[in-house]
């Protein structure tokens, strides 16, 4: 698991302040095979991180509370999912939105998560 280069992103964001949060989300999501938007103190986020690690996947984690623009990203994610914040954890696989914890769990139980991971190149078996 590598923590998302939020510091780099921050410098980039400082330069491009006007970037739409949604665009930023999409950009970050497409950078890696498995991207998780999280909050460092959230225990459910911890659970989802452990899930992927347990499967042998190395997700990229963006801690929104460490990001100066984290609030906007959280709001953008909430809009994407159609729910009220707090919304984390939110998982993207291969640039595609999977959803929050319950979607991830459901897809894992019905066996659709592993093929997605393989397709995104996050898992080799």
């Amino acid at each position: 698991m590598q923590y998302g280069a939020t510091t780099e992103s921050w410098y980039v964001a400082a330069a491009t302040h006007a970037m739409d949060p949604l665009e930023r989300v999409e950009r970050l999501a497409s950078e890696n095979a498995v991207v998780i938007f999280s909050v460092s103190t959230c225990c459910m986020c911890h659970a989802v991180k452990r899930l992927f690690c347990g499967m042998g996947v190395h997700p990229t984690v963006h801690e929104l509370d460490m990001d100066p623009l984290g609030r906007d990203i959280e709001r953008a994610l909430a809009r994407l999912l159609g729910v009220v914040p707090p919304v984390v954890p939110v998982v993207f696989i291969g640039g595609k939105l999977i959803g929050a914890m319950d979607r991830v769990m459901a897809s894992h139980i019905n066996g659709s998560l592993v093929p997605l991971l393989k397709e995104a190149g996050a898992l080799w078996l």
Binding site: C43, A47, D102
Partner: protein, 497 residues
């Protein structure tokens, strides 16, 4: 009104009852008529719009003349004419005008009016009948006159007390006038009666409604009491005082859920034994799974207000509670329990079951780690301030501390919901993988397993406490048999399995 009725009774019964007389429309009509008479307005002109209503109306004066047949179609005209005739009778005491007006329509009423007038000097049967009536009316007149409002009736009233036949007839006519003038009062009285009757009916209906509601309320209260005590017993009496209302309700709901589950189990068993075709069995299976879904829904609802209750498992039996995982069964355990009963399984099914087992284990592990981290955070928060200091010394810090702790605890709801979600998904996936018959057997196995677990709880709870003591003493025949009976009674619980 009593006078009116006496009149009706005295008559040969060819009258209709006064109820028809007191028809609303009639009353309106007569009110208008009476006013018209009083003010001397031409009556016919005012009756145009009311023609339809009047067709069915019967003039009150008709009832005074019993021997003439009652015909209701042409009431308007005869009434009008009769009244006119009566009026002219009063004023002129001549029959001529009556005859004139009688030409308009030929009805019994008009004939009655004519003969009434003609009878003045004769002792015809009708006249005598009239006389009798007139006498009755005359007797009733004083009462009647009391109710009259318009002054013009006064001279006519006084006329009532004369004794000549002519005068009597006139009295009859004035009687009629008195009655006409009374029409407003009559109408009012009629309306009052009607209103009183309606309100009595309404009251009756309302009282009946109240009665049934009361009975239903009693039943509901009784059921509630019963279920609540059952719920309390399930939870363990000690904790009942501290239980939140939501938790108590949930316990009740869970008890009902268990009862229903028993029904589903027996339905399923019957279905399997009957070797139903897959379609029918499938619907029973799906109903059972929907039943589980309702339980998860109930739990999710309680999780919002009282996640602790779900996690501590006070709603289940002690044995279940002891080995509970995050407020319910552990999905991978369930799969392990169920798998032996599903033979024969195809290879595809075996693979799928295995992967289901693995995924659920991974998910459980992840959730558990998250839950554990919550616990670690909470511990850290609660122990952040020096534990040895008195709370009162640093209230603001304490409050802040509590705020953080509460925030952490609020995410408990999330964990319980995710755990239930995992359970629900596992059940649904099992349904996907298995055939209908296998799914039926699977559900029966789950039902039976938990039933045994609950039975174990109750057997354990009711076991004799002094068994250890008995074991140490020299076994006398009595105690041996006692032991045996105790053991037998305990094994009897198992015989049902």
């Amino acid at each position: 009104m009593a006078n009116e009725r006496t009149l009706v009774c005295g008559v040969q019964g060819s009258f209709h009852t006064s109820t028809k007389f007191f028809d609303e429309a009639e009353s309106d009509y007569f009110g208008e008529l009476e006013e018209a008479l009083i003010h001397g307005d031409p009556i016919t002109s005012s009756h145009g719009p009311k023609k339809g209503i009047v067709e069915t109306a019967r003039p009150p004066t008709l009832e005074i003349f019993p021997s003439w047949p009652m015909r209701h179609q042409h009431h308007q005209h005869p009434t009008v004419e009769q009244r006119k005739s009566e009026q002219s009778v009063e004023s002129s005491e001549e029959s001529g005008s009556v005859k004139d007006t009688a030409n308009t329509t030929s009805t019994g009423v008009i004939a009655g009016a004519q003969s009434q007038v003609q009878c003045r000097g004769r002792g015809a049967t009708e006249g005598e009948a009239q006389k009798g009536l007139v006498v009755i009316m005359a007797n009733g007149a004083p009462q009647r006159t009391g109710a009259q409002q318009p002054p013009p009736s006064a001279p006519q009233i006084q006329y009532d007390n004369s004794h000549t036949e002519k005068k009597k007839i006139i009295a009859g006519s004035t009687r009629k006038d008195g009655k006409l003038l009374d029409a407003k009062t009559l109408r009012r009285l009629a309306q009052n009666r009607e209103a009183a009757r309606k309100s009595r009916l309404r009251k009756k209906a309302y009282v009946q409604q109240l009665e049934t509601s009361r009975i239903r309320l009693q039943q509901l209260e009784h059921d509630l009491q019963r279920a609540r005590t059952q719920g309390m017993l399930l939870a363990g009496c000690g904790a009942s005082g501290e239980m939140s209302s939501g938790a108590a309700m949930f316990n009740m709901d869970y008890t009902n859920w268990l009862e229903e589950e028993g029904r589903h189990v027996s339905d399923l068993r019957a279905g399997l034994d009957a070797h139903l075709i897959d379609n029918n069995l499938s619907s029973i299976v799906d109903d059972f799974i929907t039943h589980y879904d309702t339980l998860f829904h109930l739990k999710a609802r309680l999780a919002q207000t009282d996640a602790f209750h779900l996690l501590t498992g006070l709603w289940t039996s002690p044995a279940e509670r002891c080995f509970m995982w995050m407020g319910g069964f552990r999905p991978s355990d369930l799969i392990k329990i169920v798998t032996p009963h599903l033979d024969p399984l195809t290879e595809q099914q075996v693979i799928r079951l295995c992967s289901l087992q693995q995924s659920s284990q991974q998910a459980e592990e992840a959730l558990w780690q998250g839950f554990d981290q919550l616990h670690q955070f909470l511990s850290a928060t609660l122990s952040s301030e020096p534990l040895s200091t008195d709370v009162g010394a640093d209230v603001s810090n304490y409050a802040g501390l509590m705020d953080i702790a509460i925030e952490k605890i609020s995410s408990l709801e999330n964990f319980v919901r995710q755990a239930d979600h995992l359970r629900r998904q596992t059940l649904h996936q099992l349904r996907e993988i298995l055939t209908t018959r296998q799914a039926a057997r699977c559900l029966l196995a789950i039902g039976e397993y938990y039933r045994r677990l609950r039975a174990l709880s109750s057997v354990w709870a009711t076991r004799p406490r002094d068994r250890a003591l008995i074991g140490n003493e020299t076994a006398s025949p009595n105690t041996v048999t006692d032991l045996q009976t105790i053991q037998q009674s305990q094994y009897a619980h198992y015989s049902a399995f």
